[in-house]
Symmetry: C2
Subunit: 228 residues, 2 copies
DNA sequence: TGCAAATAGATATTTTTTTATCTTTTTATT
DNA sequence: AATAAAAAGATAAAAAAATATCTATTTGCA
C-alpha cells in the first residue's frame, strides 16, 4: 500500500556514496605504492585482500570512478589512480591554509600523502606569540591577526582548522568573512556557518567509539561479526 | 573476514550502527559542555540544531542508548551522558599505550576529552633515539625495544599506532605478540593481523576526499544538497 | 479547565549501502 | 583447439540508515 509523502523527497540523484568516498584514499595510497614497486595492473581481489573488505565492495567502489577494467587481468594502475583522483576532485591542486600550528597542525603539515593528493597548504596561522614568526616544518607561522589582510585578496579554497575547540568558532567566522567556502574542521565543535559554506568535520573520537562498542560486544559474547 | 554464504544469508545477531556510533562522541562533548554550564536537561531539537543534522536522526541515536526521556521536556543531561558512555563501552577506563611520539601522537596525548571518555594512555614508546628518555606532555618516552618487557605482564587493552606507515606493520606484529587485541591505527596502511585482533583505522584523508567530491559537485552545478 | 504547542516514542517508508549471484570475457594450460 | 579459471561487469536481493508520519504525553497559558 503506497502512502503518498506529503511533500515528497528531494531526489539527490545518488551522487554521494560517503563510505565509498572515504575508502578511496586507501585504494589510492596502495596504488601509489604498487606503482612505485613497478606494478602496472591490479585486480580487485588484490585490493580487497589488502583492505580486508569484501571483493564486491571494491568492485562497486571502482565502478563508481567510471573506469573500465580488463577481464581476467584487472585495472591499469596508472589509469585507476587517475580515475580515483578525478572522482575525488583531486586532479588539480587544492590550495589551503592551516589555522593552528599545534601538534595536530604540525602532523598535518608533515602528512606526506597530501603531496600526492594535490592538497597544498600554502600558509599557516596561529595566535600563540611563542609560535608566530617561527618555522614549523619549513613554513613560517603568521599571526592570525594578519589572516584577513594576507588572504582576502586571493583566499585559498580550503581552510583547515586545528585550533582549540574554544577558539574554533571565532576562527571559522573570520574564514567565512574572507570568503572561504570549504572548511576542514579538526576542532571538537560543530561549527555554525552560513548556508553555502561547507564544513567537513573530523571527529577523532569516532574511532574510539567504534573500538569501545566492539570491546563491549566482545566482552558480552564473542561473535564473528565484522566491523569497520 | 571471509564470510561466505553460498545461498540465503546469515543473520547478524548484533547490529552495529556505525554512523550513529560515530556521532555519539559529538553528543557527549556537547552534553559535557552543557552540564558545565549548569543545564540539567536537553531536547533532541537542541542537539539537532547544534549538530546541523535532522531531528529524527538525533532521536534515533538517543533511542539506541536505551534512555527514556520526558515528553515535552527532553532528557536529563547527566543520565544521557551515562547512557551514551555505557552504550559506547566507556563506563570504565580503557587502558592504552601509544606507539609513536611524533606530532600526531603528541596531539593525541594532549586531547583533553580522552579524560572524560575514560581513555587512559599509560605509556608512550618510540624508536627515535632523540625522543627516547625525553618527556612529551608529561610522559616519559620509552624505547620501543623495551615494549615487550614493559608491557607483556599486563598489557593495556588498546594500542594506538602513530608511527610512519613504513613502520606500522612491524609495530602491529609486536603488539599482537604481547597479546594486544585492539589497535587504533592512525598510520596510512591496512594492517594485517590475525583473526580476533581488532583494528580500528583512522583514515585522515577520508575527510579530504569528502571535501574534494563536494567541491567538484559544486563546480559542476550548484545544489543545495547537504552532505556529511 | 481546556487548548495549543513542544516533545518523546512508535511505526512506516524510502534511500543508501552492502552482499549475493549470474554472465561475459580473457588468459593460461593441457 | 578445447577447457578451466580468474576476473570484470551486470543484475538482484538484503541489510542498514535515514526520513517521514503518526501518537501520546506533558507543560504553559488563555
Amino acid at each position: 500500500m503506497v502512502r503518498k509523502a506529503k511533500r515528497g523527497f528531494m531526489r539527490r540523484g545518488k551522487i554521494l556514496n560517503t563510505p565509498a568516498i572515504r575508502r578511496m584514499p586507501t585504494y589510492l595510497h596502495k596504488l601509489l605504492k604498487m606503482r612505485l614497486e613497478g606494478k602496472v595492473s591490479v585486480s580487485s581481489t588484490e585490493l580487497a585482500e589488502y583492505m580486508n573488505i569484501e571483493l564486491i565492495v571494491v568492485r562497486k567502489d571502482i565502478a563508481l570512478t567510471g573506469i573500465s577494467g580488463q577481464r581476467r587481468v584487472g585495472y591499469d594502475i596508472n589509469e585507476l589512480i587517475r580515475y580515483i583522483k578525478n572522482y575525488l576532485g583531486w586532479q588539480d591542486t587544492i590550495s589551503a591554509t592551516l589555522i593552528g600550528a599545534g601538534s595536530l597542525g604540525s602532523a598535518l603539515l608533515g602528512y606526506d600523502d597530501f603531496n600526492h593528493y594535490g592538497f597544498g597548504i600554502e600558509s599557516v596561522f596561529d595566535a600563540d606569540p611563542s609560535k608566530i614568526g617561527k618555522e614549523i616544518r619549513g613554513r613560517e607561522v603568521f599571526d592570525i591577526a594578519t589572516l584577513e589582510s594576507r588572504l582576502k585578496n586571493s583566499p585559498p579554497e580550503v581552510a583547515v582548522i586545528c585550533v582549540s575547540s574554544a577558539a574554533a568558532q571565532q576562527v571559522a567566522d573570520k574564514l567565512v568573512a574572507i570568503g572561504i567556502k570549504y572548511i576542514w574542521n579538526f576542532a571538537n565543535v560543530a561549527l555554525q556557518v552560513p548556508p553555502g559554506v561547507v564544513v567537513q568535520r573530523e571527529v577523532i573520537a569516532g574511532g574510539l567509539a567504534m573500538l569501545g562498542v566492539r570491546m563491549k560486544l566482545d566482552r558480552e559474547h564473542d561473535t564473528g561479526v565484522a566491523f569497520d
